[in-house]
Symmetry: C2
Subunit: 337 residues, 2 copies
DNA sequence: CCAGGCGGCTGCAACGTTGTAATGAAGGCG
DNA sequence: CGCCTTCATTACAACGTTGCAGCCGCCTGG
């Protein structure tokens, strides 16, 4: 049913290969021939068969994107940005969800045959840890996102977590707060966003001469709204005093903020809140949530750029590149005053 | 580099086709042979080349999903559900964003060569209208979502919009409210979620004997948080009295609720709020938002099921199927009392 | 005037898979 | 004992594309 090179060639009265050459804009084609072929292509509505092309050339024009789950707004906004960045480079995105931090599923995904028709992968793990770095030595181009694995064998796009987190904490300190709770720590974790952000927090405290109080560190399981809410409830129940909360991501901060308000705390008067990620919804919460903008578009664009680079240069081994995106502190109502 | 059928066949000492038969679990293979081939497959780490398979068989195991934008939570949650439903049927999803209701981009997408390696498409338009129904007569299997196009030539999964919307309105009425504002109407629109939901609203009013007041209908451009916020600001400025708000989706309702609160209105005492979509974040707003659960998982699962059915039955023309998902009213704090 | 170069085009083979038809061997039945 | 069926396996040809080698004819320089 669909027209093939053969059909176009027959209609234009040239060889199959000449049509292919026209499609690929090769040189050494007489303008008259080119026009004739173009006309035939339009008439038949010819579109190249990507499976055949890919079988022959080994390229599909599709990149894989593997992330935990789209229902976490952070990943939805990230996927949005990556799909747009890919489109700018004429690539389509095949989206794979690995679930909320399931290490085994993430590892299985890396060797899934579903990735076969993909030229490369942008991978945002949540369950892997640095010991798994070797697993990333797969046979295809890959770019790593996030803060789970460092020093792996692949290009890595991430951000200045420690500095950004320190800036967030200093922002609260500059507003006169000294009892700053953290929502979202991961007890016992060695590597990951949580660890880095807690580290930035501690550096800020140290710089300001504020003693570190472990009672202010709230551990959670995952980074959903419910976890933030639960952690805040627990914190209030302990009776510990606090005058500010740093949610290690926006979702945690929003969940926690709601519980604090229900408990009668005024934001920002009694407790200030700051989050991390600059989700769209932080602009519309009550009060609006201060947060850290991690430069999502920059991250997305760089990830796609690096992946394309890897795809194009083939298997030439090269020292993995690490790219750190810029961040900005966004000051909103939740830290006003 | 990657092992092919040929390599496996050579190692196992059988023909290429026998290996293929083992891979596909065809009958009439001696257990001993099967074992030998299996061992060879494992030893070489053989994975079928999907491009080749697809070239030969015309199937790729990939379905396309085209929706406006992932940064709208509704679509992010929908995509999540569809990807999971596809995975259950061993399909991968290629995600295409068409932007926030751009009709031309939606039409262009339908004939994009990027869809070449896709077995079919799940399409959620926002810019098309019923006059464009004929455009959906593409040459590949397709399932339509949403309320933009009715009576098109393809299977359609949608929901009881009018009834659900009527139920939402009746819920507010049952709480004693009579001045119910609508946020999210589309002036002049003939078909679409907005029209249907406003219709349900009017039916509820009629049933309760409440007069319809056009001053309570707030038009918006898109269905983002900012639009809900802006519409509410405008409504308050008009000085019209109202004691409840029906946001035609959750995002609008949340944006509007925030503005109302900033303006000093108490929710639910002064104004009750109800939304539509049952987004995760409605569970964590302050107050939590009552909403309509449109049966997202059911919609996702049905869409994938119908698409698979269309793909498998080939080009046999058949009367398009219309599936209507069930809804539920979720009663939360924003309508308490 | 001829060798050599180059522009413009074509033919062939291959990418890895699968459907069809065909093969030979073993077993059952009259 | 020969014929027919069933089992187990194989050979071959395609799917639509692209890389490579090659061909022809014209132009240029010596």
């Amino acid at each position: 049913m669909a027209a093939t090179l053969r059909d176009v060639a027959a209609l234009a009265g040239v060889s199959i290969k000449t049509v292919s050459n026209v499609v690929h804009d090769f040189q050494h084609i007489r303008p008259a021939t080119r026009e004739r072929v173009r006309a035939a292509i339009d008439e038949l509505g010819y579109k190249p068969n990507i499976s055949a092309r890919s079988l022959r050339s080994g390229r599909t024009g599709v990149i894989g994107l593997a992330l935990p789950e789209l229902s976490l707004s952070y990943f939805a906004e990230l996927a949005d940005a990556i799909i747009q960045a890919a489109e700018r480079r004429h690539l389509v995105v095949l989206l794979e969800q690995t679930g909320g931090g399931d290490r085994d599923r993430e590892i299985a995904m890396l060797s899934s045959p579903r990735l076969q028709l993909t030229d490369g992968l942008i991978f945002s793990p949540l369950g892997l840890s640095t010991e798994d770095a070797a697993m990333l030595n797969v046979g295809y181009p890959m770019v790593l996102l996030g803060e789970r694995v460092f020093g792996g064998p692949v290009d890595h796009v991430t951000m200045h977590n420690v500095e950004a987190s320190k800036a967030a904490t200093l922002h609260l300190i500059s507003r006169g707060r000294r009892r700053i709770a953290i929502i979202g720590a991961h007890e016992g974790e060695v590597v990951g966003s949580a660890v880095l952000r807690v580290q930035g927090y501690r550096e800020a405290l140290a710089e300001a001469g504020i003693p570190f109080d472990p009672a202010l560190i709230c551990n959670v399981g995952r980074w959903h709204r419910a976890d933030g809410a639960e952690a805040m409830r627990a914190l209030i129940d302990t009776g510990v005093s606090f005058d500010a909360v740093f949610g290690l991501n926006d979702t945690l901060a929003l969940g926690a903020m709601r519980v604090a308000q229900v408990a009668g705390l005024r934001v920002p008067e009694d407790v200030m809140f700051i989050g991390f990620d600059a989700l769209d919804e932080t602009k519309y919460s009550l009060p609006t949530l201060s947060t850290i903008d991690p430069g999502r578009d920059e991250i997305a664009d760089t990830a796609v750029r690096l992946l394309v680079q890897r795809i194009e240069e083939g298997v030439t081994p090269r020292v993995p590149e690490v790219y750190l995106a810029d961040y900005t502190v966004i000051d909103r109502e939740s830290t006003a005053g």
